[in-house]
Amino acid sequence: TKKELPEHFKAYKHVWVFIEQERGQVHPVSWELMGAGRKLADKLKVELAAIVLGPDDEATQHAAAEAFSYGADLTYVVADPLLTDYRNEAYTKALTDVVNTYKPEILLLGATTLGRDLAGSVATTLLTGLTADCTELDVDADGSLAATRPTFGGSLLCTIYTLNYRPQMATVRPRVMPMPEREEKPIGRIITHPLGMVEDDIVTKILSFLPDRDSAKSNLAYADVVVAGGLGLGSPENFQLVRQLAGVLGAEYGCSRPLVQKGWVTSDRQIGQTGKTIRPKLYIAAGISGAIQHRVGVEGADMIVAINTDKNAPIFDFAHVGIVTDAIRLLPALTEAFRARLSPHSRDRIAS
Protein backbone atom coordinates (compact mmCIF):
# COMPACT_ATOMS: atom_id res chain seq x y z
CA THR A 1 0.00 0.00 0.00
CA LYS A 2 2.96 2.33 0.34
CA LYS A 3 3.62 4.25 -2.80
CA GLU A 4 6.38 6.79 -3.22
CA LEU A 5 5.16 9.85 -1.29
CA PRO A 6 3.73 12.35 -3.85
CA GLU A 7 6.23 15.09 -4.73
CA HIS A 8 4.23 17.94 -3.16
CA PHE A 9 4.25 16.16 0.21
CA LYS A 10 8.02 15.73 0.36
CA ALA A 11 8.50 19.21 1.78
CA TYR A 12 6.43 18.23 4.86
CA LYS A 13 8.82 17.94 7.78
CA HIS A 14 8.91 18.18 11.57
CA VAL A 15 6.58 17.20 14.38
CA TRP A 16 3.98 19.62 15.70
CA VAL A 17 1.89 19.63 18.84
CA PHE A 18 -1.22 21.80 19.12
CA ILE A 19 -1.17 23.63 22.47
CA GLU A 20 -4.72 23.87 23.73
CA GLN A 21 -5.61 26.92 25.83
CA GLU A 22 -8.82 27.42 27.74
CA ARG A 23 -9.40 30.81 29.27
CA GLY A 24 -5.73 31.36 29.84
CA GLN A 25 -4.88 27.85 31.00
CA VAL A 26 -2.95 25.32 28.92
CA HIS A 27 -4.66 21.93 29.00
CA PRO A 28 -2.19 19.42 30.53
CA VAL A 29 -2.74 17.03 27.60
CA SER A 30 -0.74 19.48 25.46
CA TRP A 31 2.38 19.05 27.60
CA GLU A 32 1.83 15.30 27.68
CA LEU A 33 1.82 15.39 23.87
CA MET A 34 5.01 17.46 23.86
CA GLY A 35 6.66 14.55 25.67
CA ALA A 36 5.43 12.09 23.06
CA GLY A 37 6.25 14.50 20.22
CA ARG A 38 9.82 14.97 21.47
CA LYS A 39 10.45 11.25 21.18
CA LEU A 40 9.06 11.12 17.64
CA ALA A 41 11.09 14.17 16.59
CA ASP A 42 14.31 12.74 18.04
CA LYS A 43 13.74 9.44 16.26
CA LEU A 44 13.07 11.21 12.98
CA LYS A 45 15.93 13.67 13.64
CA VAL A 46 13.64 16.62 12.98
CA GLU A 47 12.40 19.55 15.05
CA LEU A 48 9.54 19.60 17.53
CA ALA A 49 7.29 22.62 17.24
CA ALA A 50 4.46 23.81 19.43
CA ILE A 51 1.57 25.67 17.87
CA VAL A 52 -0.22 28.11 20.15
CA LEU A 53 -3.50 29.80 19.22
CA GLY A 54 -5.13 32.36 21.46
CA PRO A 55 -5.88 35.99 22.18
CA ASP A 56 -3.08 38.53 21.94
CA ASP A 57 -2.37 38.53 25.66
CA GLU A 58 -0.01 37.46 28.40
CA ALA A 59 -1.48 33.98 28.72
CA THR A 60 -0.77 33.23 25.07
CA GLN A 61 2.79 34.58 25.38
CA HIS A 62 3.25 32.54 28.51
CA ALA A 63 2.01 29.36 26.80
CA ALA A 64 4.42 29.97 23.92
CA ALA A 65 7.30 30.45 26.36
CA GLU A 66 6.36 27.40 28.42
CA ALA A 67 6.43 25.23 25.31
CA PHE A 68 10.24 25.56 25.27
CA SER A 69 10.43 24.24 28.81
CA TYR A 70 8.48 21.22 27.64
CA GLY A 71 10.87 20.48 24.80
CA ALA A 72 9.90 22.65 21.83
CA ASP A 73 12.61 23.66 19.36
CA LEU A 74 10.37 26.41 18.04
CA THR A 75 6.86 27.73 18.51
CA TYR A 76 4.30 29.02 16.06
CA VAL A 77 1.87 31.57 17.44
CA VAL A 78 -1.35 32.96 16.05
CA ALA A 79 -2.45 35.64 18.53
CA ASP A 80 -5.67 37.48 17.80
CA PRO A 81 -8.60 38.69 19.91
CA LEU A 82 -10.89 36.57 17.74
CA LEU A 83 -9.22 33.49 19.22
CA THR A 84 -10.16 34.42 22.80
CA ASP A 85 -12.85 31.76 23.11
CA TYR A 86 -12.84 28.59 21.09
CA ARG A 87 -14.85 28.82 17.92
CA ASN A 88 -14.46 26.24 15.21
CA GLU A 89 -14.40 28.69 12.30
CA ALA A 90 -11.52 30.84 13.55
CA TYR A 91 -9.46 27.99 15.02
CA THR A 92 -9.83 25.83 11.91
CA LYS A 93 -8.67 28.69 9.71
CA ALA A 94 -5.72 29.51 11.94
CA LEU A 95 -4.47 25.95 12.25
CA THR A 96 -5.04 25.06 8.59
CA ASP A 97 -3.24 28.19 7.39
CA VAL A 98 -0.20 27.57 9.55
CA VAL A 99 -0.04 23.92 8.45
CA ASN A 100 -0.32 24.87 4.79
CA THR A 101 2.39 27.51 5.19
CA TYR A 102 4.96 25.61 7.26
CA LYS A 103 4.10 21.97 6.36
CA PRO A 104 4.60 19.60 9.30
CA GLU A 105 4.79 15.86 8.67
CA ILE A 106 3.09 14.97 11.95
CA LEU A 107 0.43 16.95 13.83
CA LEU A 108 -0.78 15.85 17.28
CA LEU A 109 -3.80 17.15 19.19
CA GLY A 110 -5.44 16.25 22.50
CA ALA A 111 -8.66 14.25 22.18
CA THR A 112 -10.63 16.75 24.27
CA THR A 113 -13.96 18.27 23.24
CA LEU A 114 -11.98 21.16 21.74
CA GLY A 115 -9.35 18.94 20.14
CA ARG A 116 -11.84 16.57 18.57
CA ASP A 117 -13.99 19.41 17.24
CA LEU A 118 -10.93 21.04 15.69
CA ALA A 119 -9.05 17.96 14.46
CA GLY A 120 -12.02 16.64 12.46
CA SER A 121 -12.45 19.97 10.67
CA VAL A 122 -8.76 20.48 9.98
CA ALA A 123 -8.15 16.94 8.69
CA THR A 124 -11.15 17.21 6.35
CA THR A 125 -9.99 20.60 5.08
CA LEU A 126 -6.49 19.21 4.46
CA LEU A 127 -7.94 15.92 3.09
CA THR A 128 -5.57 13.87 5.19
CA GLY A 129 -5.84 10.94 7.60
CA LEU A 130 -6.66 11.37 11.28
CA THR A 131 -6.24 8.55 13.78
CA ALA A 132 -8.35 8.97 16.88
CA ASP A 133 -7.57 8.29 20.53
CA CYS A 134 -4.17 6.68 20.09
CA THR A 135 -2.62 4.85 23.01
CA GLU A 136 0.84 4.59 21.49
CA LEU A 137 2.76 6.65 18.95
CA ASP A 138 5.93 5.57 17.22
CA VAL A 139 7.76 5.96 13.94
CA ASP A 140 8.70 2.86 11.99
CA ALA A 141 11.87 2.13 10.06
CA ASP A 142 10.90 4.19 7.01
CA GLY A 143 9.85 7.17 9.12
CA SER A 144 6.06 6.75 8.96
CA LEU A 145 3.91 7.50 12.00
CA ALA A 146 2.61 4.27 13.55
CA ALA A 147 -0.46 5.16 15.60
CA THR A 148 -1.88 2.39 17.78
CA ARG A 149 -5.38 2.30 19.23
CA PRO A 150 -7.74 -0.39 20.54
CA THR A 151 -10.03 -2.01 18.00
CA PHE A 152 -13.69 -2.22 18.80
CA GLY A 153 -15.33 -5.14 20.43
CA GLY A 154 -12.31 -7.34 20.96
CA SER A 155 -9.28 -7.50 23.15
CA LEU A 156 -7.07 -6.33 20.32
CA LEU A 157 -5.04 -3.32 19.27
CA CYS A 158 -4.47 -2.02 15.76
CA THR A 159 -1.75 0.13 14.26
CA ILE A 160 -2.91 2.72 11.74
CA TYR A 161 -0.77 4.57 9.18
CA THR A 162 -1.35 7.58 6.94
CA LEU A 163 1.23 6.66 4.35
CA ASN A 164 0.52 8.78 1.31
CA TYR A 165 -0.87 12.00 2.76
CA ARG A 166 0.53 14.79 4.92
CA PRO A 167 0.42 15.78 7.63
CA GLN A 168 -0.15 12.53 9.50
CA MET A 169 -2.63 13.54 12.18
CA ALA A 170 -3.46 11.84 15.46
CA THR A 171 -5.33 12.62 18.66
CA VAL A 172 -4.49 11.28 22.12
CA ARG A 173 -6.67 11.45 25.21
CA PRO A 174 -5.58 13.23 28.39
CA ARG A 175 -3.42 11.14 30.75
CA VAL A 176 -2.62 8.47 28.15
CA MET A 177 0.94 9.78 27.74
CA PRO A 178 3.06 10.51 30.83
CA MET A 179 3.61 14.14 31.77
CA PRO A 180 7.22 15.00 30.82
CA GLU A 181 9.53 16.66 33.32
CA ARG A 182 9.46 20.45 32.93
CA GLU A 183 12.95 21.84 32.36
CA GLU A 184 13.40 25.59 32.63
CA LYS A 185 14.55 26.80 29.18
CA PRO A 186 14.98 30.23 27.64
CA ILE A 187 12.48 31.35 25.03
CA GLY A 188 13.65 30.17 21.63
CA ARG A 189 12.49 30.80 18.09
CA ILE A 190 8.90 32.08 17.87
CA ILE A 191 7.22 32.45 14.49
CA THR A 192 4.05 34.50 14.45
CA HIS A 193 1.38 34.12 11.83
CA PRO A 194 -1.63 36.37 11.20
CA LEU A 195 -5.18 35.08 11.55
CA GLY A 196 -6.46 37.16 8.64
CA MET A 197 -10.08 37.33 9.78
CA VAL A 198 -12.38 39.99 11.16
CA GLU A 199 -15.28 39.37 13.54
CA ASP A 200 -17.78 39.73 10.69
CA ASP A 201 -16.20 36.70 8.98
CA ILE A 202 -17.22 34.49 11.90
CA VAL A 203 -20.87 33.53 11.87
CA THR A 204 -21.04 31.79 15.25
CA LYS A 205 -21.31 34.10 18.24
CA ILE A 206 -20.73 33.19 21.87
CA LEU A 207 -23.60 34.56 23.93
CA SER A 208 -22.27 33.39 27.28
CA PHE A 209 -20.15 30.81 29.06
CA LEU A 210 -21.41 28.91 32.10
CA PRO A 211 -18.44 27.43 33.97
CA ASP A 212 -18.94 24.07 35.69
CA ARG A 213 -19.19 24.17 39.43
CA ASP A 214 -16.03 22.60 40.85
CA SER A 215 -18.08 20.22 42.96
CA ALA A 216 -19.58 18.76 39.79
CA LYS A 217 -16.22 17.46 38.65
CA SER A 218 -14.65 14.25 39.83
CA ASN A 219 -10.90 14.33 40.06
CA LEU A 220 -10.61 10.77 38.80
CA ALA A 221 -8.13 11.42 35.99
CA TYR A 222 -5.63 13.13 38.30
CA ALA A 223 -6.14 11.11 41.49
CA ASP A 224 -3.16 9.46 43.19
CA VAL A 225 -5.21 6.49 44.30
CA VAL A 226 -8.21 4.96 42.53
CA VAL A 227 -10.45 2.07 43.59
CA ALA A 228 -12.78 0.65 40.95
CA GLY A 229 -15.39 -2.05 40.66
CA GLY A 230 -16.77 -4.09 37.77
CA LEU A 231 -19.60 -6.43 36.93
CA GLY A 232 -18.12 -9.05 39.23
CA LEU A 233 -19.57 -7.09 42.14
CA GLY A 234 -22.98 -8.24 41.06
CA SER A 235 -25.15 -5.40 42.33
CA PRO A 236 -25.21 -1.64 42.91
CA GLU A 237 -25.38 -2.30 46.65
CA ASN A 238 -22.08 -4.18 46.52
CA PHE A 239 -20.55 -1.25 44.66
CA GLN A 240 -20.78 0.67 47.96
CA LEU A 241 -17.89 -1.54 49.13
CA VAL A 242 -15.71 0.14 46.51
CA ARG A 243 -16.76 3.61 47.67
CA GLN A 244 -16.07 2.68 51.28
CA LEU A 245 -12.53 1.51 50.52
CA ALA A 246 -11.96 4.65 48.44
CA GLY A 247 -13.18 6.74 51.38
CA VAL A 248 -10.66 5.20 53.78
CA LEU A 249 -7.83 5.70 51.28
CA GLY A 250 -8.77 9.28 50.39
CA ALA A 251 -9.07 7.88 46.89
CA GLU A 252 -11.39 8.50 43.94
CA TYR A 253 -13.69 5.67 42.92
CA GLY A 254 -14.35 4.45 39.37
CA CYS A 255 -15.91 1.59 37.44
CA SER A 256 -15.91 -0.40 34.22
CA ARG A 257 -18.30 0.52 31.42
CA PRO A 258 -21.10 -2.01 32.01
CA LEU A 259 -21.83 -0.42 35.41
CA VAL A 260 -22.46 2.90 33.71
CA GLN A 261 -24.64 1.23 31.09
CA LYS A 262 -26.65 -0.42 33.85
CA GLY A 263 -27.05 2.90 35.60
CA TRP A 264 -25.26 1.78 38.79
CA VAL A 265 -22.63 4.51 38.56
CA THR A 266 -22.57 7.87 36.75
CA SER A 267 -20.66 8.11 33.48
CA ASP A 268 -18.02 10.53 34.80
CA ARG A 269 -16.70 7.57 36.84
CA GLN A 270 -16.08 5.25 33.90
CA ILE A 271 -12.48 4.26 33.40
CA GLY A 272 -11.16 3.16 30.02
CA GLN A 273 -11.08 3.94 26.34
CA THR A 274 -14.46 5.67 26.31
CA GLY A 275 -14.18 6.92 29.87
CA LYS A 276 -11.32 8.44 31.83
CA THR A 277 -7.67 7.53 31.54
CA ILE A 278 -5.96 7.44 34.92
CA ARG A 279 -2.31 7.39 36.06
CA PRO A 280 -2.51 6.92 39.83
CA LYS A 281 0.22 5.60 42.11
CA LEU A 282 -2.14 2.81 43.16
CA TYR A 283 -5.08 1.32 41.28
CA ILE A 284 -7.25 -1.34 42.90
CA ALA A 285 -9.67 -3.15 40.54
CA ALA A 286 -12.32 -5.42 42.04
CA GLY A 287 -14.42 -7.71 39.87
CA ILE A 288 -13.09 -6.26 36.63
CA SER A 289 -12.01 -8.70 33.90
CA GLY A 290 -9.48 -6.40 32.24
CA ALA A 291 -10.83 -6.03 28.68
CA ILE A 292 -8.56 -4.05 26.36
CA GLN A 293 -10.83 -1.00 26.50
CA HIS A 294 -10.44 -0.97 30.26
CA ARG A 295 -6.74 -1.81 30.20
CA VAL A 296 -5.77 1.16 28.01
CA GLY A 297 -7.29 3.47 30.60
CA VAL A 298 -5.26 2.16 33.53
CA GLU A 299 -1.93 1.00 32.14
CA GLY A 300 -0.21 4.20 33.24
CA ALA A 301 -0.78 3.35 36.92
CA ASP A 302 2.39 2.74 38.96
CA MET A 303 0.82 -0.25 40.67
CA ILE A 304 -2.25 -2.22 39.64
CA VAL A 305 -3.85 -4.52 42.19
CA ALA A 306 -6.50 -6.94 40.89
CA ILE A 307 -9.12 -8.81 42.88
CA ASN A 308 -10.91 -11.43 40.79
CA THR A 309 -12.42 -14.88 41.32
CA ASP A 310 -11.09 -16.14 37.98
CA LYS A 311 -7.37 -16.86 38.02
CA ASN A 312 -7.36 -16.69 34.21
CA ALA A 313 -8.94 -13.24 34.03
CA PRO A 314 -6.99 -11.05 31.54
CA ILE A 315 -6.45 -8.41 34.22
CA PHE A 316 -3.77 -10.62 35.78
CA ASP A 317 -1.77 -10.19 32.54
CA PHE A 318 -1.11 -6.56 33.38
CA ALA A 319 -1.67 -6.30 37.13
CA HIS A 320 1.36 -6.08 39.44
CA VAL A 321 -0.30 -7.72 42.42
CA GLY A 322 -3.25 -10.08 42.25
CA ILE A 323 -5.48 -12.06 44.53
CA VAL A 324 -7.91 -14.74 43.44
CA THR A 325 -10.93 -14.34 45.68
CA ASP A 326 -14.46 -13.04 46.12
CA ALA A 327 -14.21 -9.25 46.14
CA ILE A 328 -17.48 -8.92 48.01
CA ARG A 329 -15.88 -10.64 50.99
CA LEU A 330 -12.39 -9.20 50.65
CA LEU A 331 -13.30 -5.52 50.16
CA PRO A 332 -14.74 -4.94 53.68
CA ALA A 333 -11.75 -6.70 55.23
CA LEU A 334 -9.38 -4.66 53.09
CA THR A 335 -11.14 -1.43 54.10
CA GLU A 336 -10.75 -2.31 57.78
CA ALA A 337 -7.13 -3.42 57.40
CA PHE A 338 -6.20 -0.20 55.58
CA ARG A 339 -8.05 1.86 58.16
CA ALA A 340 -6.09 0.22 60.95
CA ARG A 341 -2.77 0.46 59.18
CA LEU A 342 -3.13 4.08 58.07
CA SER A 343 -4.58 5.57 61.23
CA PRO A 344 -2.18 8.05 62.89
CA HIS A 345 -2.39 5.97 66.03
CA SER A 346 -0.96 2.85 64.43
CA ARG A 347 1.69 4.87 62.64
CA ASP A 348 2.88 6.41 65.88
CA ARG A 349 3.16 2.93 67.24
CA ILE A 350 5.22 1.78 64.26
CA ALA A 351 7.42 4.85 64.53
CA SER A 352 8.22 4.40 68.20
Binding site: E22, G120, T124, L127, L156, T162, F209, V225
Partner: protein, 281 residues
Protein backbone atom coordinates in the same frame (compact mmCIF):
# COMPACT_ATOMS: atom_id res chain seq x y z
CA UNK B 1 -38.27 22.51 8.35
CA UNK B 2 -36.25 19.65 6.90
CA UNK B 3 -33.85 17.77 9.17
CA UNK B 4 -31.44 15.01 8.14
CA UNK B 5 -30.24 12.61 10.85
CA UNK B 6 -27.23 10.41 10.12
CA UNK B 7 -27.39 7.08 11.93
CA UNK B 8 -24.98 4.17 11.88
CA UNK B 9 -25.83 0.51 12.37
CA UNK B 10 -23.34 -1.05 14.78
CA UNK B 11 -22.84 -4.43 16.44
CA UNK B 12 -24.41 -4.51 19.90
CA UNK B 13 -21.15 -4.38 21.80
CA UNK B 14 -22.83 -5.42 25.02
CA UNK B 15 -23.27 -8.80 23.40
CA UNK B 16 -19.88 -9.19 21.77
CA UNK B 17 -17.79 -11.93 23.31
CA UNK B 18 -14.12 -12.55 22.86
CA UNK B 19 -13.11 -16.14 22.24
CA UNK B 20 -11.25 -17.18 25.38
CA UNK B 21 -8.63 -19.20 23.53
CA UNK B 22 -8.09 -17.52 20.16
CA UNK B 23 -8.67 -14.00 21.49
CA UNK B 24 -10.74 -13.11 18.43
CA UNK B 25 -14.13 -11.45 18.28
CA UNK B 26 -17.03 -13.87 18.10
CA UNK B 27 -19.33 -12.01 15.71
CA UNK B 28 -21.68 -14.79 14.77
CA UNK B 29 -25.16 -14.03 15.90
CA UNK B 30 -24.21 -10.67 17.41
CA UNK B 31 -27.27 -8.51 16.87
CA UNK B 32 -26.95 -5.07 15.33
CA UNK B 33 -28.50 -1.92 16.73
CA UNK B 34 -28.72 1.76 15.90
CA UNK B 35 -25.61 3.36 17.40
CA UNK B 36 -27.00 4.34 20.83
CA UNK B 37 -25.58 7.89 20.64
CA UNK B 38 -27.56 8.49 17.43
CA UNK B 39 -30.89 8.07 19.21
CA UNK B 40 -30.27 11.34 21.08
CA UNK B 41 -29.79 13.06 17.72
CA UNK B 42 -32.92 11.42 16.32
CA UNK B 43 -35.05 12.43 19.29
CA UNK B 44 -33.77 16.02 19.16
CA UNK B 45 -34.70 16.11 15.46
CA UNK B 46 -38.16 14.64 16.01
CA UNK B 47 -38.84 17.13 18.81
CA UNK B 48 -37.86 20.06 16.56
CA UNK B 49 -40.10 18.74 13.80
CA UNK B 50 -43.02 18.40 16.20
CA UNK B 51 -42.47 21.97 17.27
CA UNK B 52 -41.86 23.62 13.90
CA UNK B 53 -43.47 21.23 11.43
CA UNK B 54 -41.63 19.67 8.52
CA UNK B 55 -39.88 16.36 7.97
CA UNK B 56 -37.09 14.21 9.36
CA UNK B 57 -35.04 12.14 6.92
CA UNK B 58 -32.75 9.45 8.35
CA UNK B 59 -29.65 8.52 6.39
CA UNK B 60 -27.22 5.68 6.80
CA UNK B 61 -24.31 4.34 4.82
CA UNK B 62 -23.83 0.64 5.26
CA UNK B 63 -24.52 -2.85 3.93
CA UNK B 64 -28.03 -3.70 2.65
CA UNK B 65 -28.87 -5.12 6.09
CA UNK B 66 -28.58 -1.60 7.54
CA UNK B 67 -32.13 -1.16 6.24
CA UNK B 68 -33.23 -2.72 9.56
CA UNK B 69 -31.92 0.25 11.51
CA UNK B 70 -33.60 2.68 9.15
CA UNK B 71 -36.95 0.91 9.61
CA UNK B 72 -36.43 1.09 13.35
CA UNK B 73 -35.90 4.85 13.02
CA UNK B 74 -39.16 5.08 11.06
CA UNK B 75 -41.01 3.36 13.90
CA UNK B 76 -39.79 6.13 16.21
CA UNK B 77 -41.42 8.61 13.86
CA UNK B 78 -38.89 9.60 11.19
CA UNK B 79 -40.64 10.52 7.93
CA UNK B 80 -38.24 9.16 5.37
CA UNK B 81 -35.24 6.82 5.24
CA UNK B 82 -32.32 6.73 2.82
CA UNK B 83 -29.86 3.85 2.60
CA UNK B 84 -26.59 4.54 0.86
CA UNK B 85 -25.16 1.19 -0.07
CA UNK B 86 -22.53 0.15 -2.58
CA UNK B 87 -19.51 -2.13 -2.60
CA UNK B 88 -17.41 0.95 -3.46
CA UNK B 89 -17.95 2.19 0.10
CA UNK B 90 -16.43 -0.86 1.77
CA UNK B 91 -13.44 -0.12 4.00
CA UNK B 92 -14.11 3.63 4.29
CA UNK B 93 -12.23 5.54 6.96
CA UNK B 94 -13.76 8.72 8.32
CA UNK B 95 -12.56 10.91 5.43
CA UNK B 96 -14.08 8.57 2.83
CA UNK B 97 -17.22 8.16 4.95
CA UNK B 98 -17.78 11.91 5.10
CA UNK B 99 -17.26 12.19 1.34
CA UNK B 100 -20.03 9.64 0.75
CA UNK B 101 -22.40 10.98 3.42
CA UNK B 102 -21.94 14.62 2.39
CA UNK B 103 -22.69 13.68 -1.22
CA UNK B 104 -25.84 11.87 -0.11
CA UNK B 105 -26.99 14.82 2.04
CA UNK B 106 -26.58 17.08 -0.98
CA UNK B 107 -28.66 14.69 -3.06
CA UNK B 108 -31.30 14.50 -0.33
CA UNK B 109 -31.44 18.29 -0.44
CA UNK B 110 -31.93 18.32 -4.22
CA UNK B 111 -34.55 15.57 -4.11
CA UNK B 112 -36.56 16.28 -0.97
CA UNK B 113 -35.71 19.87 -0.04
CA UNK B 114 -32.63 21.53 1.41
CA UNK B 115 -32.03 20.56 5.05
CA UNK B 116 -32.06 23.24 7.73
CA UNK B 117 -30.14 21.04 10.17
CA UNK B 118 -28.04 17.90 9.79
CA UNK B 119 -27.68 15.85 12.95
CA UNK B 120 -25.17 13.18 13.91
CA UNK B 121 -24.50 11.40 17.18
CA UNK B 122 -21.54 12.37 19.33
CA UNK B 123 -19.60 9.27 18.28
CA UNK B 124 -20.18 5.60 17.51
CA UNK B 125 -19.59 2.66 19.80
CA UNK B 126 -17.50 0.79 17.21
CA UNK B 127 -15.19 3.15 15.31
CA UNK B 128 -15.58 5.66 18.12
CA UNK B 129 -13.67 8.51 16.46
CA UNK B 130 -16.21 11.38 16.67
CA UNK B 131 -14.76 12.59 13.37
CA UNK B 132 -17.68 12.02 11.01
CA UNK B 133 -19.86 14.95 12.17
CA UNK B 134 -17.16 17.62 11.77
CA UNK B 135 -16.13 16.01 8.47
CA UNK B 136 -19.62 16.23 6.95
CA UNK B 137 -19.97 19.82 8.14
CA UNK B 138 -16.70 20.86 6.55
CA UNK B 139 -17.50 19.18 3.25
CA UNK B 140 -20.94 20.79 3.03
CA UNK B 141 -19.74 24.16 4.30
CA UNK B 142 -22.17 23.93 7.22
CA UNK B 143 -21.56 25.66 10.53
CA UNK B 144 -20.64 23.07 13.10
CA UNK B 145 -21.97 22.72 16.62
CA UNK B 146 -20.51 19.69 18.40
CA UNK B 147 -21.36 18.24 21.83
CA UNK B 148 -24.69 20.05 21.95
CA UNK B 149 -26.52 19.52 25.23
CA UNK B 150 -29.57 21.64 24.51
CA UNK B 151 -31.20 23.34 21.55
CA UNK B 152 -32.48 26.50 23.17
CA UNK B 153 -34.12 28.20 20.26
CA UNK B 154 -34.61 27.86 16.51
CA UNK B 155 -35.77 30.87 14.53
CA UNK B 156 -36.66 29.45 11.13
CA UNK B 157 -37.68 32.74 9.56
CA UNK B 158 -34.63 34.55 10.93
CA UNK B 159 -32.42 31.56 9.97
CA UNK B 160 -30.74 31.42 13.36
CA UNK B 161 -30.28 28.86 16.11
CA UNK B 162 -29.13 29.02 19.73
CA UNK B 163 -27.64 26.04 21.52
CA UNK B 164 -25.80 25.07 24.67
CA UNK B 165 -22.58 23.31 23.84
CA UNK B 166 -20.48 21.30 26.27
CA UNK B 167 -16.88 22.50 26.22
CA UNK B 168 -13.90 21.97 28.49
CA UNK B 169 -14.80 23.25 31.93
CA UNK B 170 -18.22 24.61 31.12
CA UNK B 171 -21.05 25.24 28.71
CA UNK B 172 -20.87 27.66 25.79
CA UNK B 173 -24.13 29.31 24.77
CA UNK B 174 -23.75 29.78 21.02
CA UNK B 175 -25.75 31.39 18.31
CA UNK B 176 -25.24 30.61 14.67
CA UNK B 177 -26.94 30.56 11.30
CA UNK B 178 -28.98 27.86 9.64
CA UNK B 179 -28.24 25.54 7.98
CA UNK B 180 -25.87 23.92 10.44
CA UNK B 181 -24.64 20.53 11.62
CA UNK B 182 -25.20 19.44 15.19
CA UNK B 183 -23.58 16.51 16.99
CA UNK B 184 -25.82 15.74 19.92
CA UNK B 185 -24.51 14.87 23.37
CA UNK B 186 -25.68 11.70 25.11
CA UNK B 187 -28.28 11.61 27.87
CA UNK B 188 -29.82 14.88 26.73
CA UNK B 189 -33.25 13.40 25.97
CA UNK B 190 -34.94 10.03 25.77
CA UNK B 191 -36.07 8.48 22.52
CA UNK B 192 -39.85 8.29 22.30
CA UNK B 193 -41.60 4.95 22.20
CA UNK B 194 -43.05 5.59 18.75
CA UNK B 195 -46.71 5.58 17.92
CA UNK B 196 -48.57 2.49 16.71
CA UNK B 197 -49.32 4.32 13.47
CA UNK B 198 -45.60 4.88 12.92
CA UNK B 199 -44.84 1.21 13.49
CA UNK B 200 -47.43 0.20 10.91
CA UNK B 201 -46.17 2.82 8.46
CA UNK B 202 -42.56 1.77 9.02
CA UNK B 203 -43.34 -1.84 8.17
CA UNK B 204 -44.72 -0.86 4.78
CA UNK B 205 -42.60 2.20 4.07
CA UNK B 206 -40.36 2.27 1.08
CA UNK B 207 -36.74 2.87 2.09
CA UNK B 208 -34.94 4.94 -0.53
CA UNK B 209 -31.93 2.90 -1.62
CA UNK B 210 -29.11 4.68 -3.40
CA UNK B 211 -25.94 3.33 -4.95
CA UNK B 212 -22.90 5.59 -5.23
CA UNK B 213 -24.08 6.58 -8.70
CA UNK B 214 -27.68 7.24 -7.57
CA UNK B 215 -26.41 9.52 -4.81
CA UNK B 216 -24.36 11.49 -7.30
CA UNK B 217 -20.90 10.32 -6.25
CA UNK B 218 -18.62 11.68 -8.97
CA UNK B 219 -15.28 10.28 -7.97
CA UNK B 220 -15.29 6.63 -6.91
CA UNK B 221 -11.59 6.87 -6.03
CA UNK B 222 -12.59 9.05 -3.04
CA UNK B 223 -14.71 6.21 -1.63
CA UNK B 224 -14.00 3.10 0.39
CA UNK B 225 -10.54 1.71 0.91
CA UNK B 226 -9.11 3.63 -2.06
CA UNK B 227 -10.37 6.95 -0.76
CA UNK B 228 -9.11 6.36 2.78
CA UNK B 229 -5.82 7.99 3.77
CA UNK B 230 -5.60 5.86 6.92
CA UNK B 231 -4.52 2.26 6.58
CA UNK B 232 -4.88 -0.39 9.26
CA UNK B 233 -1.60 -2.23 9.00
CA UNK B 234 -1.49 -4.51 11.96
CA UNK B 235 -4.01 -6.00 14.37
CA UNK B 236 -2.55 -7.69 17.42
CA UNK B 237 -3.24 -8.84 20.94
CA UNK B 238 -1.74 -6.77 23.75
CA UNK B 239 1.18 -8.52 25.37
CA UNK B 240 1.19 -9.53 28.99
CA UNK B 241 3.62 -7.65 31.20
CA UNK B 242 7.05 -9.25 31.10
CA UNK B 243 6.95 -9.76 34.82
CA UNK B 244 4.02 -11.85 36.11
CA UNK B 245 1.71 -10.44 38.74
CA UNK B 246 2.65 -11.40 42.26
CA UNK B 247 -0.24 -13.50 43.50
CA UNK B 248 -1.23 -13.18 47.12
CA UNK B 249 -2.49 -16.42 48.59
CA UNK B 250 -6.07 -16.12 49.68
CA UNK B 251 -5.95 -19.09 52.00
CA UNK B 252 -3.83 -17.11 54.44
CA UNK B 253 -5.63 -16.30 57.66
CA UNK B 254 -5.61 -12.56 57.03
CA UNK B 255 -5.58 -12.12 53.25
CA UNK B 256 -6.33 -8.41 53.45
CA UNK B 257 -3.25 -7.82 55.61
CA UNK B 258 -1.18 -10.02 53.32
CA UNK B 259 -2.32 -7.99 50.31
CA UNK B 260 -1.50 -4.70 51.98
CA UNK B 261 1.90 -6.01 53.07
CA UNK B 262 2.68 -7.00 49.48
CA UNK B 263 1.63 -3.57 48.16
CA UNK B 264 3.85 -1.71 50.64
CA UNK B 265 6.73 -4.12 50.19
CA UNK B 266 6.83 -3.28 46.51
CA UNK B 267 6.42 0.44 47.06
CA UNK B 268 7.41 1.52 50.56
CA UNK B 269 6.92 5.23 49.84
CA UNK B 270 3.28 4.58 49.06
CA UNK B 271 2.46 4.02 52.72
CA UNK B 272 3.42 7.59 53.62
CA UNK B 273 1.52 8.93 50.61
CA UNK B 274 -1.56 6.96 51.57
CA UNK B 275 -1.40 7.99 55.19
CA UNK B 276 -1.23 11.63 54.12
CA UNK B 277 -4.14 11.17 51.71
CA UNK B 278 -6.20 9.31 54.28
CA UNK B 279 -5.70 12.19 56.69
CA UNK B 280 -7.04 14.46 53.97
CA UNK B 281 -3.90 16.39 52.97
Amino acid sequence: MHIVVCIKQVPDSAQIRVHPVTNTIMRQGVPTIINPYDLFALEAALALRDQHGGEVTVLTMGPPSAEDSLRKALTFGADRAVLLTDRFFAGSDTLATTYALATAVRKIGETFGAPDIVFTGKQTIDGDTAQVGPGIAKRLGLLQLTYVAKIANVDLAGRSIQVERRSEGGVQVLQTRLPCLITMLEATNEIRRGAMADALRAARAEVVIWSAKDAGVEDISKCGLRGSPTIVKRVFAPSARAEKATMVDFSETAPADALIAEIFKRQPKLEDDLAALARGY
